[in-house]
Symmetry: C2
Subunit: 147 residues, 2 copies
DNA sequence: GCATAACCGGATATTGACATCCGATTGAGG
DNA sequence: CCTCAATCGGATGTCAATATCCGGTTATGC
């Protein structure tokens, strides 16, 4: 339902949100988030292209959030790596039918709209601020006891 | 986001709901729903196993809804062919962490729960009864003008 | 300006979803 | 009981998502 890529991107972004304005290397991010390092590298590159994240090469380089966590919604990260495709025209491909969806597809699209709404509802900052015994990603340095 | 298989299954079920208690062959269903016939056959077999649909072989056979359309929810069809996998444990695989989800995964699971709720909200009968100019699937016999 | 650190981008597996094909099986009707 | 209609089940093909590898490029610090 949710792709692995989305899951990975969200883990990485959430981790970077715990260290705002600081950069981390792919290897560091991969270790904390438990994401295959080579693939994570690709995912981060997508986030760079969508200007969610900024990259710097060379010594001391790495990846860093492009904006403060208060300004980054889950939805943006989802859309960056695996966009939710709303149903805008009849999937049976009848041009004459135009933009009107039949009741079945209207409901499917409504469900997708609910997803969007849910993902748009919170920022990375809100996720980190939430009072809980479960530290985000379960395994951040701050939650070593969680291991 | 929603798999092709779900889309196909819903089209087929919606069509069968327009002719309750009657059976239709794979070829008939495929033509109306614009689904590849060979693959549709597999999808229908899944629906048979999940007791959404009943099959009969031989002359005059085919597929028929196992229940009246009032008793069949979209969610059941979704779960039959491509179940929504709720997040019940931390995806980072830390056994010690138990059942508690971190704020990130709690939100993701909440979004999935919203989907379930949306899909559970309507029956096939409701879809067909809805007053609209767009006949379900856009291209049913009853809506030949839609072609 | 050289060595080193780190990302970038292209080529290449691997895997599962989607799709097809066909022989085997079952049921209806004469 | 024979033929035809139709589903069933297994084998196989195709393609996009996932994942890996490595040489090229850029930046830092000495």
């Amino acid at each position: 339902m949710l792709s692995q890529t989305v899951e990975y991107a969200l883990r990485a972004a959430t981790y970077l949100a715990t260290v705002p304005k600081q950069s981390r290397t792919v290897d560091q991010i991969a270790e904390v988030t438990h994401v295959p390092v080579a693939y994570l590298s690709k995912v981060l590159q997508q986030l760079v292209r969508e200007e969610i994240v900024i990259s710097r090469r060379g010594t001391g380089g790495g990846f860093m959030l492009a904006r403060p966590p208060e300004k980054l919604r889950i939805l943006e990260i989802v859309q960056a790596v695996d966009p939710i495709e709303r149903i805008t025209t009849c999937p049976l491909g009848l041009a004459a039918h135009g933009k009107r969806l039949c009741p079945l597809h209207r409901r499917l699209d409504n469900a997708l709209a609910e997803m969007e709404r849910a993902f748009a509802a919170s920022t990375l900052a809100e996720i980190l601020a939430e009072p809980t015994k479960s530290v985000p990603l379960c395994n951040f340095p701050a939650a070593a006891t969680c291991r």
